[in-house]
Amino acid sequence: MKRRGFFLYGALCLGYAFLYVPIVLLVVYSFNASRLVTVWGGFSTHWYGELVGDQKILDAAWLSLEIAFVNATIATFLGTLAAVVLVRFTRFHGRTLFSGLVTAPLVMPEIITGLAMLLLFVSLEQWIGWPEGRSATTIVIAHVTFSLAYVTVVVQSRLSQMDASLEEAAMDLGARPLKVFLVVTLPIIAPALVAGWLLAFTLSLDDVVIASFVSGPGSTTLPITVFSKVRLGVSPEINALATIVIAVVSVGIAVAGRIMYRQEQERRRGLERASEQE
């Protein structure tokens, strides 16, 4: 028994080391004074200065954030609708096709999705003259298509765990379905919507393959810029950029975790108070 516990503990440590050592090294070497990534030339923030002065990267980063924001908002809207359809409307014609269409983008290799999206845009332009060339718009459309699937999965699991009698009670009291959804269902599934939005935002911010296919000359996103730099080899400037990304993500997750912890505490306190009153 003891030995097994030891083995599991070791496996866990090994796994976490594998996951985190590369990230830690990346951060450490972003403060390296030397251009050679492997030779430690003393502490320096030189590469951060270089990064802040790089207008191309800053423009690309801003564009990526804009695309990610619009994408996450549209994907959350459509994904929530799709989740409602999948959980609440159990029988209708074309349900199999619908659920297949929703889950397929999850596993589809990005390179196929990217090629397919581009060929669609080119064909559409030939047939109806829209979209004119590739731009941020085409990137948003392509990103919504695959991130909406992730939002659907997240919202779907929350929705199917939800107590359906709450909706029934509201309906019995005479509320219309739309009102029931807005007043009862939406607040309950709101955390899943936030999680789905953040997931869609991150996925969009992270995508290089699909964006490479559907971006135009004026719409170079951050991952495309980074990818073309990285293909040429290791550069400390990218380490600095990576460190900033990691810092932002860590702070974001810490804040989200804190909020969730507080809510959980409050809920527990509320439950305790309720049981005391009884």
Partner: protein, 329 residues
């Protein structure tokens, strides 16, 4: 949700005269409300359905179509399938040459087999590393499970590109790993890891590990532990109990996790491009080169169609288990 809906609505209103006179008009009101709700449902489903049909289903039909086309030096660089011959007769030209080319050129066959091999080996490594992790998390005290799981997912929220890039600095000949091994005296000269298949395995395992751990954790966590107690009561050793109780019960999780790693790994492009060498042929890389370097869109489409055919079986398997899971819950 279906085109039948309006006709159903009609059917309901036609029922009106047949209602026995004793029943109040409330009944009609109820019917109308029901019909309205059906319409409401139709409207809810419409936006995502239309979006996915136009931007996901149609593109694949177009890829399929263009794979039968021929390359042309025009914009766009392929010949359209249907044309007007002599201005009056509709002519449809299908060209199977692209597919024949895929089978004739050993490069493509080799790339396909290599992709399958690399994806399979990486999936296996992911399983070997991910299973003990998922098991350890699922058997940890309840309060620790979510934080431990969060630690697995956390790297996923940072950029995928950055995580692959991190390994470039570690695996290079003059990289940190070789530096460490040289310093420790394990090796006398740098070993070549970068630009080999091993580097690609490491990259894939590193990037996709959370996708393996999560479904495994889900299936191990909901397992009924009294089954293990029963096995122990019947004189079963812990290891034996693991093999004959826990392992079979976690098969759905293993399949879901493996598919989530295997399918995208087959089509992976960024990892073999950054970590692999020129010999590391993978189908995603070949497609990219056909499209961006050779500008041969029809052949790229044929490569994509062939890749999809290859992935249909694993995708169906994944969906099958997904649906079964969903119906259970």
């Amino acid at each position: 949700m279906s085109p039948q809906m309006p006709s159903r609505l009609m059917g309901r209103t036609e029922d009106k005269p047949r209602t026995p006179p004793g029943i109040t008009p409330r009944r009609h009101f109820f019917d109308a409300a029901l019909a309205l709700r059906r319409w409401g449902r139709f409207l809810v489903g419409l936006p995502p359905y239309v979006w996915l049909a136009v931007f996901f289903l149609v593109p694949f039909l177009i890829v399929f179509g263009i794979s039968f086309s021929e390359v042309e030096s025009a914009i766009p660089p392929y010949r359209s399938l249907a044309g007007w011959a002599d201005g009056a007769v509709l002519e449809i030209r299908l060209n199977l040459g692209n597919y024949r080319y895929l089978f004739d050129d050993p490069l493509y066959v080799h790339a396909y087999l290599n992709s399958l091999r690399i994806a399979a080996v990486s999936t296996l490594c992911c399983l070997l590393l991910g299973y003990p992790m998922a098991y350890a998390i699922a058997r940890a005290p309840v309060a620790q499970r979510i934080p431990l799981l969060m630690l697995v997912i956390l790297p996923f929220w940072t950029s995928f590109l950055i995580r692959v890039y991190a390994w470039m600095g570690i695996l290079r000949n003059e990289g940190l790993l070789n530096g460490l091994l040289l310093y420790l005296g394990v090796i006398n000269e740098p070993i070549q890891i970068m630009e080999t298949d091993v580097a690609v395995y490491i990259g894939i395992v590193y990037s996709y590990l959370p996708f393996m751990v999560l479904p495994l954790y889900a299936s191990l966590e909901k397992m009924d532990l009294s089954l293990l107690e029963a096995a122990a009561d019947l004189g079963c050793r812990p290891f034996r109990a693991f093999l004959s109780v826990t392992l079979p019960l976690s098969v759905p999780g293993m399949i879901a996790g493996s598919m989530l790693v295997f399918i995208p790994a087959v089509g992976e492009f960024v990892i073999p491009d950054l970590l692999g060498g020129p010999d590391t042929l993978m189908i995603g890389k070949v497609l990219w080169q056909e499209f961006f370097d050779n500008r041969d869109w029809p052949v790229a489409s044929a490569v994509a169609v062939a890749m999809l055919v290859l992935l249909v079986a694993p995708i169906m398997l994944f969906q099958h288990y997904q649906n079964r899971d969903r119906e259970k819950s």
